[in-house]
Symmetry: D3
Subunit: 339 residues, 6 copies
């Protein structure tokens, strides 16, 4: 099985430990971005995964390519050119102090890419699955156009298409998001969202206040069902994060099928190491689960356990194996030393 | 509004993470000290804040001046001269292991300063508020004398005067503290204390055992009332720390007014990053709150939220903005990423 | 009083913080190993402690000797020679992600040592106590032989002999462990074990599932009693770890005497900094407690508090003093700053 | 005396030591830029120095402001707004491997600033000297326009105006540079250039090949004279770098006056720590020297010694005092420990 | 063109900067080994390069695979299994203090590999060049056997075969080396050696004392000629290192052809950053040069410049591009900043 | 053979690499001080060495004791008590920028020690040699008194006494130094000095200007002869440092005997890693050489080579072995890798 993902990978610059930006004189440099994170997760699970993007021809961007390649991601369809690689600065929160992200991604190579930069027919040759997130079309009008072309080409080539809604308010308005995401939904089989995305993008809200740590599983099932029925999806999955504080979260998910079957995952109490990329690791886990297990319940448990583990790992990338995920999904969350 | 604080700023040397002194071969070097911390907090809130001290004329002390200046604190009234800058070594505790402080502050420039080092009339020109803590007069007989001169001059110049009792048993005895602090109280309008200070300095004890994590709000209201009536204060505020362990604290405060109104702040469960300077950040928050909000309840909530956030930030200085404090005071302690 | 311990000390290589092996490009280098850890703990308590092993004659091994010497451990009976020092790689877990240990200890100098490398009569001159763990005889057939010689010599010389069962499944099978450990038990007065060791080595199981965080004190008392009666011991102690997650453990212990008296220690909720060496620090605490206090209850409380503190300290070695342990054992686990 | 400089300050991200970009997973974060570097140098010399720029309103840019403020630079005329702070990545060279700079400065706040962002009349109130470099007008057409306005306003307000040609081929073509710099020259009294700038910008070449390490003082005197006569300058100074390798440079300068007097500085053999900002520190040294010494020879010696020292200091900023510069200028380059 | 190399890749553990082993509590962790280094160099030059070895199935070895893959080396023919990855500890020298290497490579997976671990026919499919060094057959008798099989298979498949003599006295005696290397020479077309290897392995000595920094080009031409005639080689290349100190070396090489043509490279004065891997980078440069340039003089200049640059780069791997090498080979060793 | 040294050991705090104090937010923490450095050097040579001092009873001072103990120095005669351990801050220079030392050693435990803190008769039991430097008596009047008592006791007990003049102008005036050092000379057999000490302390000057890098061997022989004749010494040794820059020094020494024999050591061109402790390592090398070789020429060559190597090692302590020193003294300064 081969999965293709398309989007932006950025240089991530984060002060060590719990230092704030104003205290930092050193930044840890890694790379990340929604769809790249999904590709890396899948490659760590042993899946053949390719990441498609456009990156400039300099050493900082080359670093991103090498990080992907080290993780066994196929980088052969990355177009080189353009002005710059996007950057994001991450300050890790603790207790009542939230994490803080400063984006410096405007004018990136992929945001300014053009349709002719990608030959989707060639890219999808031999592939089985296409994944993108709502961030990619939000990058620019060009990027939206290209995403539409990619999704259409994927559909045409017979790939399964999944999309993580991932609404980013700094990139586009809710109105624009709704318009373009609605168009993209035509090609999508499986939607993934967090507790707020469906409301932000499609106005499909669930009750409760996420800033209070309240998680209403029932309400989110309704959201998933509405997504399925509105867009004719195969599955809709919603991750459920109860933010007790920046240090402690509750984490779970529900998966709902076209036939309104509800698969509800176990809930984890996560002591957060790095929550960025949690949703992406869920997406990767779900793709893996739906294609490797016969049971959607197993799939959502795998996805939830995988993304629980991600939040205990530094960086955007989920550096865990299938065996580690299964051990947790099967109930050993004791954290006893593995010698 | 302009606030002047007076005291000692020290070089703080702390091993990284949770290494003990006996394991350290590298010390993170920052600067801190009660009144300097208050000045920095206020400057971060946008208040015009000046810190007064005496520092030797070498690069280590110059580092302290630059750290203050970077934070926008007015350093123009710092006298240069004397032998050395005080140092304190900090080993961060975890779980049942307490943090450990080794002071090496004897013979510091400010401890050996003389009255003629400071021209208080000039220093207080244009200022509205004077803040000091019980550490400054404890440094030496000279320092006690100068603090008295400063407090008297502040009062005379019509400034509001606040004092954080901050008893340090390594610096002076309870007897000496009571004698000198009683004298200083003549000039003080607002007193801040933690759960133990009032008992240590003035013998005004509240019931309960702080090492057990018990916090009796009621008892501390009584302590505050006694402080107000004994010294004719405008306000007395007491911070309430429930030390569950070195890693987890409960944190709150009460503010009592001359008229015996009680303003009781919300209680936070803090996962500690660095608790040093917690009381100072409360003091700064209270000064800000009492001068920027019309409602003492808002002031104590602001002060408590500010100092809750401080304990999630590395270093003595509270690197947070008014907006961040207000967001927490208004109830969002979920720690969700701020993108 | 003088204690001798015998075993392997390894170079420990661990990525900083919560980085996984695949993310590491820097390893913190310290040294550790069951019996060395016990010796260091005891030396930190002021006891005259000697560690016996064989180490190659190179700078990496010399680093181990210097680390021991710095901690005041007598290294004069360490034989130099052989090919290599054992290494272990440690990846620290967090939340649901377990810590991970990769051993690279085969062919170490001590695993390939021969009987003539150690003159036990000379080594035990003036000593009062001999301690070893089940790891040492597991290293190789030679090592098992030498351990037997050591234990016999200790007994003959009138030393008290203690053994921490410490079963390592990567080093030997349960069958082999049972055979050799049974032989060794002839010389042992005091046995220490964790919740699983007695079952792994001697098939003496207690009810409950350790991966679920369940701790049945009663069941473990029965295990201890069975150990005492089967091997004619003076004491058997069992540490009780409830692994809630890699970040949070419950920690306690029971000590049972020949006369079936049960001494049950307080339970601690530990926020883990580094749990490696927890059992060793308990062993050292017990040796200290049984020889310095008149009351076995005090001994087990001391041992449990000591090992609670260990888990808040980085590295294998328990860098705490008798005073710190007693303060915690007497009930101050508040973690308030010690100034 | 008060000096105003105008230009761009960037976040500088540099791998530690001699690691190449492709090896870096950590970047040291400091700030720098031609005119900011000059302002910091002057402030370190005790001069009242203000830096003018436009910076976005986020923490990364706030870091730049705080770095300047720490160094005692007046930041009160910095306009806040715009999209991003420029970034440059620096890989330090060694021996035959050159240092490498990757610019990511397009679309920075100052490059997209507009005339109304700066009120030059107000900015220059009380100032004596205005300094800019050829980088600022190269940033964008807007920036060129604003630089012209600034230079004209400075002239009108009676300030002395200095300009470091600093040609950057990635920012503009030689043609465009010549056109705009020629216009700016109308307002300039003192020009500073390195061995290549005059040729690049104005086509005024000196013989010899800088990549061969040849330094022809005579040829550069001719260049300086041509600059003076072409633009009616008071002084022209040319720094002379003989690049033996990335690790070892020869460093000197010539200063020529309107009256064709030549002041030729001593030559230093510099073992390079960080050569970035060398020219800027020369500029600052020259401004200081021409305003504080009666003798242009002393001025050029001071400037050359100052910039020699800069190259032994990490970062863009020249962290040296007047006393240190004078000691070197007077001949003590022995590097003996100053206790 | 495709190049295959075969050998051992080790974990390299090196204290930062100039710390000695006895001072280190942190080791930088990279990977390296003669033939792996050659593969990485070639991949950085854009050549299709595959590295063949055997590595255990754990995360430390997986790190080596990922480092190779990041650098674009084909790792698909690496056999997984065996006990451990070899380790070497490196202490960097300075001035008169030599670098120090401690090997801990015995019992590594590749040293204990067996013939059936590698299917050379399959491995060499599509390949043009096979490279190995004298270290591989020295690892063990098995490894010698496998190397012979590989060389014979390469020859049979029509590949060009190159060998770097690389004598390691800790791995085998001169007698054994001579015996086995003589056998291997049957299959070799091009030999690379440093100043001492030919003497150590084949007793072919050149005059002069390498510890005195003397380099006699003439003598080494004679050595090369003797190698060519004795083994019927196409080319023999000898690197010439004049060790002035651990910090400063002179570096050059001679290449001699079957027809006794001598191609003598320029000599570089290198200020050493990291000299490990210098010879390997020369080998890679020579393979690149002989296959990409029509002129052996250009080839040896390219190889010498490439390996000069390597010594300015941290780690075993030569992280430089063809463009960078050519710029230096063409004479720009000035180290001027490349912006 | 057993050597006793007496003096002060300080906490040394130094920014990493070439960062200046004003840039540092991290200090490397090691320990050092003239006589402690000598003891460590000797212990590294395998000599039984004891260091005597007074240190306070806190963890920072305990770190010094552990560092000494790790290096095999006998710490059993260190008195515990007093207020603080002395501190010195070290900023490493480069090229024309000198290293900078800021002392914060006033009021240290040893400076405030009293005679009864040391029982010299007991301390010298079994010892053969006593070494001190001119720093110890300069610490305070008490320290001078104690040094006199120690030297007298050593003489009386039949020890050989050596003294390194080590003049520190910040600690005492030349007048006071001359008076007290003259008294101490009565007990001294061997004097060590650098190029300036004899002039500073006793007014015995040699021609030439050390800041110019001029080293006149002849002049210093005259100085040594004058020292011998004035104080009736057995030997006088003078180290000769030619400071070309902070990065490059020339280093040699002369040893003159009572009989006016001159033993002149080879001169080394040292690329400096850390020059602090250079003189101390010479002293230790001389003590070792005079007691282990029959030939004073060998002794001074050993001492000079040892101290050459020290300057390539980070920290005050000379971490080298006898074998390493002898290899250099015998002429191998090539710095070729020792595998």
């Amino acid at each position: 099985m081969k999965v293709v993902t398309f989007g932006e990978i950025m240089l991530r610059l984060a002060p060590e430990g719990y230092y704030r930006f104003l205290q930092a004189d050193k930044y840890g440099a890694t790379y990340g971005g929604g769809e790249a994170n999904v590709a890396v997760s899948l490659a760590n699970f042993g899946v053949d995964a390719a990441f498609v993007t456009k990156l400039p021809d300099n050493d900082i961007a080359e670093g991103a390519v090498r990080a992907l390649r080290a993780a066994n991601v196929d980088t052969s369809c990355i177009t080189r050119g353009g002005e710059r690689i996007g950057i994001y600065f991450l300050e890790k929160g603790a207790s009542q102090r939230p994490s803080k992200v400063i984006y410096d991604r405007a004018h990136s190579a992929v945001a300014e890419a053009v349709s002719s930069d990608f030959d989707w027919e060639k890219i999808f040759k031999g592939a089985d699955w296409f994944h993108f997130t709502g961030i990619t079309p939000a990058l620019s009008d060009n990027a939206a156009e290209i995403t539409l072309q990619a999704a259409a080409a994927a559909k045409k080539a017979g790939l399964k298409v999944s999309c993580d809604l991932n609404y980013r308010k700094k990139l586009w308005s809710r109105e624009k998001a709704r318009k373009i995401m609605t168009e993209l939904m035509k090609y999508v089989d499986i939607v993934i969202a967090n507790e707020e995305d469906a409301a932000d993008v499609f106005g499909i809200a669930a009750p409760g206040d996420v800033t209070k740590g309240e998680v209403s599983r029932k309400g989110y099932v309704a959201v998933a069902e509405e997504l399925i029925s509105r867009f004719g999806l195969e599955y809709a999955a919603i991750t459920l994060r109860g933010s007790i504080s920046a240090s402690d979260n509750r984490w779970s998910a529900v998966l709902v099928s076209k036939g309104s079957e509800v698969f509800s995952a176990k809930e984890y109490a996560v002591h957060i190491v790095d929550r960025v990329g949690g949703g992406d690791s869920f997406g990767a886990g779900l793709i893996y689960g739906l294609t490797h297990f016969d049971d959607p319940q197993k799939a959502v448990e795998f996805a939830t356990a995988a993304s629980c583990l991600k939040q205990t790992v530094e960086g955007d990338f989920n550096m865990v194996t299938v065996e580690e995920v299964i051990r947790l999904a099967q109930g050993d969350g004791s954290g006893r030393i593995s010698r």
